[in-house]
Symmetry: C2
Subunit: 233 residues, 2 copies
DNA sequence: CGGGGGGTTGAGATGTCTCAAGGGGTGTGG
DNA sequence: CCACACCCCTTGAGACATCTCAACCCCCCG
C-alpha cells in the first residue's frame, strides 16, 4: 500500500512527505464547479450539513474550531486549527458526522473547486485509485493534526513560530524548490491561535528571529535568510 | 450524508459524538484473526510498512509519535498522541504513506483484531456502507486530533486533566451510562505527554481535584464524585 | 480628519517547569 | 524471608516562559 510504489495507485500526489498535503489529481479533468469567496467570508460554518469537499484553487483559508465554554456563560474556546493554501482540501472533518465541525473563513479573496459528496463517493467505489486517494488525503490530515498537537504540547514559542514559517514556505512552493520569500496571509492573532500563543508572543518571536538575522521581516512580508538556523531551533 | 439518518448507511456506530470513536460493526461477523500483545510490547513501530488496521478487543494501547530533534544530536520530541480502549481502531495514520507514523505500545496485556488492508479496501469498494464507515472513522480521528490540538493550545493544566478524565470515563462505559469509577491504565508521565504537561503537574492537578472533592483518588483508581464540577473547569 | 484594525514593545503577574527529596509498591536474588 | 533495586507517585521551592495589560505606532478607509 505504499503510494510511491504500488502500481495500482499511481495518482496520489504527496506534495511533500513533510507538508502532508495531497490533492485529487484524477479530478483535475472533471469540470467541477467553482465558487468565489470574499475576504473574511465563510465558505461553510460549524453545524451546517456537509454537501461537498472543497479544493482551494487560489487564495487562502483558515479553519476555526469552536469548543463550547466550560460553563454556559463563559466564552467558548476558539482556535484556528489549520490554514489551507492552493491545492489543499477543506472539509474533511465533517465526514464522520455529516456536518461541518469547523468554520472555513477566507483570508483573502479566494476560489475553490466544489466536489459534491454525492458524486465523490460513488466515484470512489468505482475506481480503486480514487478511493485510495481519498483515504490517503484523510490519513494525511490525521497525521497533520497529530503533528500540530505534538508541536503545541512540546515545543517552546520560538520553535513553534520557526516551524510554522518553515511549514508555510514548503507549502507555498509552486516550483520544486521551497521559496524563501513569503507573504503571510493571516494576522498575528491567527498565527497565535494556531500555535497556541498570544499574538504578542508571536510578534516578539518574529522580531527576535529578525534581530538574529534568521529572517527578514516587514509586517507580513517574510524572507527566510538562514533556513538552517530556522530549522535548528 | 448524515450517518444518523441516511438509510444507505445504517451501520456506523458513533459511541458518542463527544468521544468520537467508532468501530466497524459490519466486521464483527467476519472471523478476522487476533493477536495478543504483552504489556510494554509494541503492536507496530514507526516506519514499518502497514499491513493491517487493528481493533482493540481487550486491554489498552498508547500511540507515540516521534518528531526528529531540531538538530541531529538533540533528543527527538516524543509525545503520546492517543490512547486506545476496547472497540477503538489503531493504525489509521499510516494509510497516507503506507508506513506507520507512530508506535503503538500496549499498556497492559491486550488482544487486537487484525484487519488486513488487502481485504479491507476491496470490501469497501463493494459495500457502500463499509466504505462509508471507514471514511467516518478516519474523519472522526481527524476531529479527535484537532480537539486535542485545541485543548493543548488553549486550556490550562487543570482543565486539561479534567477533560481527560471526562473523556476517558465516557469511553470506558460499556453500558449506556458513563461509569464513575475508572482505573487509569497509564502512568502520570503518559498522561502528561498526552496533555502537554509534566508528570508532576498532572499529579498536582489530580491532587487538587481530590482535595476539592471533585474526584476520589487512590493511585490509578479514580472515582468521579462531581461530574458537573469536573466539566465546569 | 477621525476611527479602527493590525502591529510592536515594555513591565509586572502568573502558571508551569525544573530540580530535589522522600514514600510506597513490586519483583528479584541472596 | 529479607534486602535491595527500580519504578511510580507525591510534594515543595525557586526559576523561567508566557500571558496580561498598557501604551504607542502605522496604515488604510470612510
Amino acid at each position: 500500500m505504499d503510494t510511491a510504489t504500488n502500481p495500482d495507485v499511481p495518482n496520489v500526489r504527496l506534495r511533500q512527505a513533510h507538508a502532508l498535503h495531497v490533492h485529487f489529481s484524477d479530478t483535475d479533468a472533471i469540470p467541477f464547479p467553482t465558487r468565489t469567496v470574499g475576504r473574511g467570508d465563510a465558505l461553510f460554518s460549524t453545524g451546517e450539513p456537509m454537501r461537498s469537499l472543497y479544493t482551494v484553487q487560489s487564495g487562502c483559508f483558515k479553519s476555526i474550531t469552536t469548543y463550547p465554554g466550560s460553563d454556559d456563560d463563559s466564552p467558548p474556546h476558539l482556535q484556528v486549527t489549520s490554514f489551507h493554501l492552493p491545492d489543499e482540501t477543506l472539509g474533511l472533518d465533517s465526514v464522520c458526522t455529516g456536518h461541518h465541525e469547523s468554520d472555513a473563513v477566507a483570508l483573502e479573496a479566494s476560489v475553490v473547486r466544489i466536489m459534491p459528496v454525492g458524486i465523490l463517493e460513488p466515484l470512489c467505489r468505482e475506481y480503486a485509485a480514487m478511493q485510495h486517494e481519498l483515504l490517503a488525503i484523510m490519513s494525511a490530515e490525521i497525521v497533520r493534526a497529530s503533528r500540530l498537537a505534538l508541536m503545541l504540547g512540546t515545543m517552546p514559542a520560538r520553535e513553534r513560530v520557526a516551524a510554522f514559517l518553515l511549514d508555510l514556505s514548503e507549502r507555498v512552493d509552486t516550483h520544486e524548490t521551497p521559496s524563501e520569500e513569503l507573504v503571510l496571509p493571516m494576522t498575528r492573532a491567527d498565527i497565535g491561535s494556531y500555535l497556541g500563543l498570544e499574538l504578542e508572543t508571536v510578534g516578539r518571536m518574529l522580531s527576535k528571529l529578525h534581530r538574529e538575522g534568521t529572517i527578514e521581516l516587514n509586517g507580513r512580508q517574510v524572507r527566510i535568510v538562514d533556513r538552517a538556523k530556522l530549522a535548528l531551533h
